[in-house]
């Protein structure tokens, strides 16, 4: 714990807990058959259940339950075989039923942990308090008409997981690392796409401050922060605000606040007095949710390899550094790409090309791995050409650039452009002889002890062979001839 804020009265530390709302990846909604596709025409993905028509009843979507369980397993958390849905009652125009079906008292997932890694390489365990399922609300559109508001219910009823952390986070950086790690795990599991811009992952941030060794002071909740950067900024801004209040002899009120990203400050959304009384009670339309341990075991067996395990395996299996392995597993697609390239080949060579030349090329051409002009298979074949001596490292750079431009296969490029490495010692010998004749003066200098000229001869020979000569053979032959 190194992050602190210096106030007038001394050093303050911050205490942060996060509630992350993650949209479950599923074809249909939590309690209805309507589609969950993003970006549909307003109100085109709404069932009678989602619009809360009279007499409509919720029926649980088993796939959403499976996704919540998978997530719980991925967070090393306790799976509760019996959980329950409650109603959270409040009125708002985006909430058709007048209540949100949520799991208040008995969530499907209990305590777990997430390991985060900080810039300095240190790792920390952040506790997970619980994970529960709930319905999302619809969306209000205020900008369509001067006097009226419209409601889009496409999102109404979509399944969310609320993932609640312990107040274990002590720095904005840790909050960022936690969110990135959480998003990474969810994406690996395929349970949430983690897309914060589309709102499929949002965070409520609980912040308080205290002097070292004190118990917790009053916290404020900052609602609906929709990017990792904003979360980190909001924590800092809110901590500074609270410290100022305490140091001026005031009292921080427990309240719900909003983060104004433009001004970089938080402001009151509703005070404790205005807090809703949600009147939670068990939803009488739904039976308690009971799942079997055998089903949980099945789901567990089918889980994909998670980032931490993959990173460790990459280090071990491919002999690459922890840092490189970390970069590769950050996104599943990168890890998969790397593994396709590296499988049965030199792992170190593979990582150099993937994180070096390929990433640079993608950056330069504003592309992503999804639409990479060079496929993992092609890159792998190119590495084979290097390893078997068909091309040398220098030529490989040119071949790769052509692959980026044309998408052609490396062997075709080599063939077409005649880039095949020259390993014919006769050709190399002839080239050396020519150079030695041309630069007889330099040969004499070399022979009289000016060793440094060796590099000059190598360069000339490579130039003469248009870079295609095998450097090792050139070295060997040159040495033999010069030292004669």
């Amino acid at each position: 714990m190194s992050y602190t804020i210096e106030g007038k009265t001394g050093i303050w530390e911050i205490v942060v807990g996060l509630e992350v709302h993650a949209q479950i990846v599923s074809n249909s909604k939590l309690f209805s058959g309507a589609s969950t596709r993003f970006g549909g025409e307003p109100n085109s993905q709404v069932s009678l259940v989602d619009a809360a028509f009279p007499g409509m009843l919720p029926v649980i979507n088993k796939e959403c339950v499976a996704q919540a369980v998978r997530t719980g397993l991925g967070l090393n958390a306790r799976i509760n075989l019996q959980s329950r849905f409650d109603r959270k009652n409040y009125f708002y125009a985006d909430l058709p039923q007048g209540y949100q079906i949520s799991q208040f008292e008995y969530p499907i997932v209990g305590e777990g942990t997430v390991e985060i890694e900080l810039q300095n390489g240190e790792t920390r365990q952040i506790g997970i308090t619980r994970l529960h399922m709930e319905q999302d609300a619809g969306k209000l559109l205020h900008d369509q008409d001067p006097s009226r508001s419209f409601v889009d219910l496409n999102r109404s009823g979509i399944a969310l997981m609320e993932i609640v952390s312990e107040p274990d986070i002590r720095a904005p950086e840790e909050a960022g690392a936690y969110l990135r790690k959480l998003r990474q795990i969810l994406r690996y599991l395929g349970t949430c796409d983690g897309n914060m811009e589309e709102g499929s992952m949002r965070a409520d941030v609980n912040v308080s401050v205290r002097k070292a060794g004190e118990p917790f002071r009053t916290r404020c909740e900052i609602k609906n922060v929709n990017s990792i950067r904003f979360v980190m900024q909001a924590i800092e801004a809110e901590a500074v605000r609270q410290i100022e209040i305490w140091e001026n002899g005031g009292e921080v009120d427990q309240e719900t606040r909003l983060f104004d990203a433009a001004r970089g400050e938080t402001r009151t959304m509703r005070s404790k007095e205005d807090a809703h009384d949600y009147r939670y009670f068990p939803d009488p339309d739904l039976l308690p949710l009971v799942i079997e341990q055998s089903w949980v075991d099945e789901l567990k067996k089918a889980l994909p390899e998670l980032p931490d395990a993959k990173r460790a395996r990459f280090q071990q299996e491919y002999g690459i550094t922890s840092y490189d392995a970390g970069v590769l597993v950050a996104e599943q697609i990168t890890a998969d790409f790397f593994e396709t390239v590296a499988k049965g080949r030199d792992g170190k060579l593979a990582v150099t090309w993937v994180t070096g030349d390929l990433f640079a090329a993608l950056n330069r051409t504003s592309r992503t791995l999804e639409d990479s002009p060079v496929s993992a298979a092609s890159l792998g074949k190119m590495l084979d050409l290097i390893t078997d001596g068909t091309i040398n490292g220098k030529i490989a750079k040119d071949v790769f650039e052509t692959m980026v431009e044309t998408g052609d296969e490396p062997e075709d490029i080599v063939e077409k452009k005649g880039l095949k490495q020259v390993t014919d010692t006769g050709v190399i010998d002839t080239a050396i002889d020519d150079i030695m004749t041309k630069h007889a003066d330099k040969v004499a200098e070399y022979r009289s002890g000016k060793d440094k000229l060796f590099g000059f001869f190598v360069g000339q020979v490579m130039k003469e062979t248009k870079g295609k000569a095998n450097p090792a053979l050139v070295n060997e032959a040159l040495k033999a001839k010069l030292d004669q």
Partner: protein, 495 residues
Amino acid sequence: MLTGLTLTEARAGLAARKFSARELAAAHLSAINSLNPKLNAYITVIPEKDVLAAADSSDAHYAAGTARPMEGLPIGIKDLFCTRGVKTTAASKMLADFIPPYESTVTAQLLASGSVFLGKTNLDEFAMGSANINSAAGPVVSPWQRKGDEKAALVPGGSSGGSAAAVAAGLALAATGTDTGGSIRQPAAYCGIVGLKPTYGRCSRWGTIAFASSLDQAGPMTRTVADAALMLEAMAGFDEKDSTSANKPVPAFSKAVGKSVKGLRVGIPAEYRAPGLAPEISAIWEQGIAWLREAGCEIVDVSLPHTRYGLATYYIIAPAECSSNLARYDGVRFGSRAEAPSLDELYERTRAEGFGEEVRNRILMGTYVLSAGYYDAYYLKAQKVRNLIRRDFTEAFEKVDVLLAPTAPSAAFAQGENSSDPVQMYLNDIFTVPASMAGVPALSVPAGLDSQGLPLGLQIIGRHFDEETVLSAGSVIEAAAGFTHKPALFAEAGL
């Protein structure tokens, strides 16, 4: 007279082509025409051409030899069941113009079994009431009259008062009801007909407008026990759209009717013999005991020790659920909407104008008992007591097969009586609420008339999903009572 038939008789007459489904339907439409203005049993009568078209289709089925169990039988539908294309109001101003684009599971099954719908029957608003006086469509008048006091308009009971009055007065051969705390059984008793509340979960709740989800259950209201069995066969069954519906096969209920009850153990709950029980109610109860004993039943005294908490518990749980269930009536997506300058005012005005007083009372009560600081003392405690009440029944059913009790503490009363004090009104449910809390099936059978000439009902309560034994015992009471009385107002129409 076609309007006086039972479902079973009408079904036989149609099958024998003694009369057509069209004639049967037309007779009922004419009966409704003549008597509904007095009784107000129907809120919406389906247009004649649509009713007759449905009847014609049934006639075609008979002609083709493909008649289904309820083929051509004209029935009324409580206006709480959503019916596609037919206005469904829940007797509320809130839904005065609501035409559902969907058909409830129960009514869909009734249509699939050949029933002909006559219209939507009146009820207490959102099924909240015991006298059918809380209706935006106006109160229902019972077809029954007190001897010597014919002017007093009596209540039909509630909340399924329109269904009970229609069946009693010849405006339908049968009708659907829903029962949350007695809403099928009590009006059946008041109107001298049979009413069956099945086991919770027996009939799907999908498409039926919710009052209290953990208690609401649809059931048949008919003239005979055999009719109730026949109609329940059409209404019941597992529905994957209702998570609380029971995934159990539907027995052939009709086979249980008339079955011998020799050796059946009948429990008499001591706690129902409340002090102050009207002597006429006591007498009819004793009569029922005697009938069952004569039929070979063994009469056993049992105890349901938590009975006295039933009503208080019910009036916490039902309003709590209703306060949440009715939150969707906010003026935003369907139903009535009051003009207002802000969202909060839209809610306030829409709900103040759209809901009647009793509904508003119950929403307030329910909101209160779920509020922070009160939840434990009211709602949670009530749930615990509800479990004790359920256990009372489970333990009693270890000793006996069914229970026998009165359906209601009195015969029907007049509009205006009992209405000043809501608690007095709630007492009407005292004998029906415990079975609702426990989710067990219960049947009300007309057993006789009181000294004013008004019907009294007896109630048979059975084990979870054992409607069959309930129907067997009920048919014994029915046969012994030989109740053939008709109310003062009865529409005699057809043939």
